[in-house]
């Protein structure tokens, strides 16, 4: 007690701060730090469990990693397709969320209802629901029945060809066209992964003081100018946050193809823990690189008006 009395208030406070962290730090060490180190060790070993001996390690050095980079075609293919998927999805999620947030920011009838619905995917398409939906046979069948009845949209593919010809007539280059088609195909994905980002941006928009808009209007700025010169710069930190959120969300999603492959290797027929650990490490490095590049780009281009996360 005497010791406590002699300490400065500042010191006492920082000790109290540390005390509050104790449960988290214990958990972090036991349920995060330890497993992470263990999985690193796993990735250099072949793991098997034998009766009576428990878990047996057999060191293989960097073999798992060299195999990943040289002979495992499937892993590379999945990793690349995942990255490409991200390259289509993340910008679209951000742009779409910003667009919807701007629309929802205006007052109109049914606005609250729309807000409720836009946030609904966060609840109903998480975890097990997502896998139930993507693998379901009847949902697709009924969907086909509906589109058969509709003459305009005979099948999904025919509709795509229509859209494609329209874009081709507009003389859009093939690359942009492919990007657009990918967006159309992933539209549902984009919509259901934007619940949190829309809400975040909406809150950011509402925090902009109306007086800024008023003065812009008095100066004669059009709505278009106002958006680019006022709205966008003021919400730019949140746009950055949304981009990071979207990347993390899609990378750690269990419907992700790389994760599927990892889980299959670890728990499927082969039970190759060591190899799966090596994969997860490569995957983690890719995520970290992605985040670093995005962070670097945003920081370098100075599009963020105010940046303090």
């Amino acid at each position: 007690m005497k010791l406590l009395d002699n300490m400065s208030l500042k010191r006492k406070k920082s000790i109290f701060g540390y005390l509050l962290l104790i449960p988290f730090l214990i958990g972090f060490a036991l349920f995060f730090g330890l497993p992470v180190i263990q999985s690193l060790i796993f990735s250099f070993n072949n793991i098997s469990s034998e009766v009576g001996k428990g878990v047996v390690y057999k060191s293989v050095g960097f073999n798992h990693y060299t195999r990943l980079f040289t002979s495992d075609v499937e892993f590379r293919e999945r990793l690349v397709s995942n990255a490409v998927d991200l390259y289509v999805k993340v910008p679209m999620i951000v742009i779409y969320s910003l667009f919807i947030a701007v629309v929802l920011n205006k007052k109109f009838r049914g606005r609250n209802f729309a807000k409720v619905i836009f946030f609904l995917p966060v609840i109903i398409t998480s975890g097990v629901m997502l896998s139930m939906e993507s693998s379901d046979y009847l949902l697709h069948t009924v969907q086909n029945t509906i589109s058969q009845g509709n003459e305009l949209l005979e099948t999904n593919n025919a509709a795509f060809i229509d859209i494609k010809t329209i874009f081709l007539r507009m003389q859009i280059s093939e690359k942009i066209l492919q990007y657009l088609m990918a967006i159309i195909q992933k539209f549902y994905d984009i919509v259901i992964s934007s619940g949190v980002t829309i809400t975040l941006l909406l809150a950011a928009l509402q925090s902009i003081s109306p007086s800024v808009y008023e003065s812009a209007a008095i100066e004669g700025a059009t709505a278009w100018e106002t958006f680019w010169k006022i709205t966008l710069p003021l919400v730019s930190p949140y746009v950055f946050m949304c981009a990071i959120y979207a990347i993390i969300d899609s990378f750690t999603n269990s419907s992700n193809r790389v994760i599927e492959y990892i889980m299959d290797t670890a728990y499927g027929s082969s039970l190759n823990y060591g190899y799966a650990s090596a994969m997860t490490w490569i995957y983690f490095i890719v995520i970290a690189l992605f985040l670093a590049v995005i962070g670097g780009l945003f920081a370098r281009s100075r599009v963020i008006f105010y940046y303090d996360i």
């Binding site: 509050l20 896998s131 990378f251 269990s254 889980m263 670890a266 799966a276 983690f284």
Partner: protein, 298 residues
Amino acid sequence: MNTLAIRNEARKLTVSIIRATLIIGVCFTILYPLLLKFAICFKSPEDLLDSSMAFLSRNPTLETLKTAYKMMNYTESFWNTALLCTLSGLFHVISCTLVGYSMGRYKYKLKSIIFGFVIMTLIVPPQVISIPMYLFFGNMSLIDNPVSLLLLYLTGNSLKSGLYIYLLTQFFRSLPKELEEAALVDGAGELKTMFFVMLPNARLMMITVFLFTFVWQWTDIFYTSMFFKNYELLSLNLGVVGSTYHQYMYNLKLPTHPMLISQMNNAGSLLFILPLILIYLICNKYFVQGVERSGIVG
């Protein structure tokens, strides 16, 4: 003057028509799978094979839902899940609030490192650590025991903990320093200040954390399937409702069909999601508020 007014009106109308189209379209995209599930569940087997109907059915029946209810062992697994999710939520609120409060209100040297830890738990996919974690809890024979999962929640190292910790940290950082100083002047210690002055302000945020944990634990299949093998939980039972049904029919020597199994999946999903939708509709405010707060404070 008159033409200007008319032009303005026309412009307003166009804007609202475009807006309505857009919003109704997107809302429909979101609700469509849910509506479809709803439509499928009430169909009798003959209606399922009848391609002249998509949404409606000639002989609506409750049989499928009843069978799904039975297949998922719904009553028992519902209560198990509800209890597990409630405890998870409570524990998570406690652990995340402690960390968030510490990082948001106190100054100490290692803060940036600890913040790095929190971010790390967010960006390392849980799959990376799933195997060692499984072995760890296996060694302590805590598999099939809710304690394993609750321990993760109690220490704030579980599903998306980093996100909640981040939200709470930002929230506590935004509270005015005067609150704390006033409490100090009045002679309150650190604990008293925390419990009676600061935490009541964070009531709404804590409800948000609770609700999100509840919902995401409810739908979670990753940790749940890792920690529970023979435990009646809704998400586990939903994952296998199709094959359970298949087995059941096989044992009764009754014929089955991929369509019926798929219908069972849909009915199961509907039963599974119904409590969550109810919670969401009632507590919608709290769900959104938590996310909004984080945005304002940023």
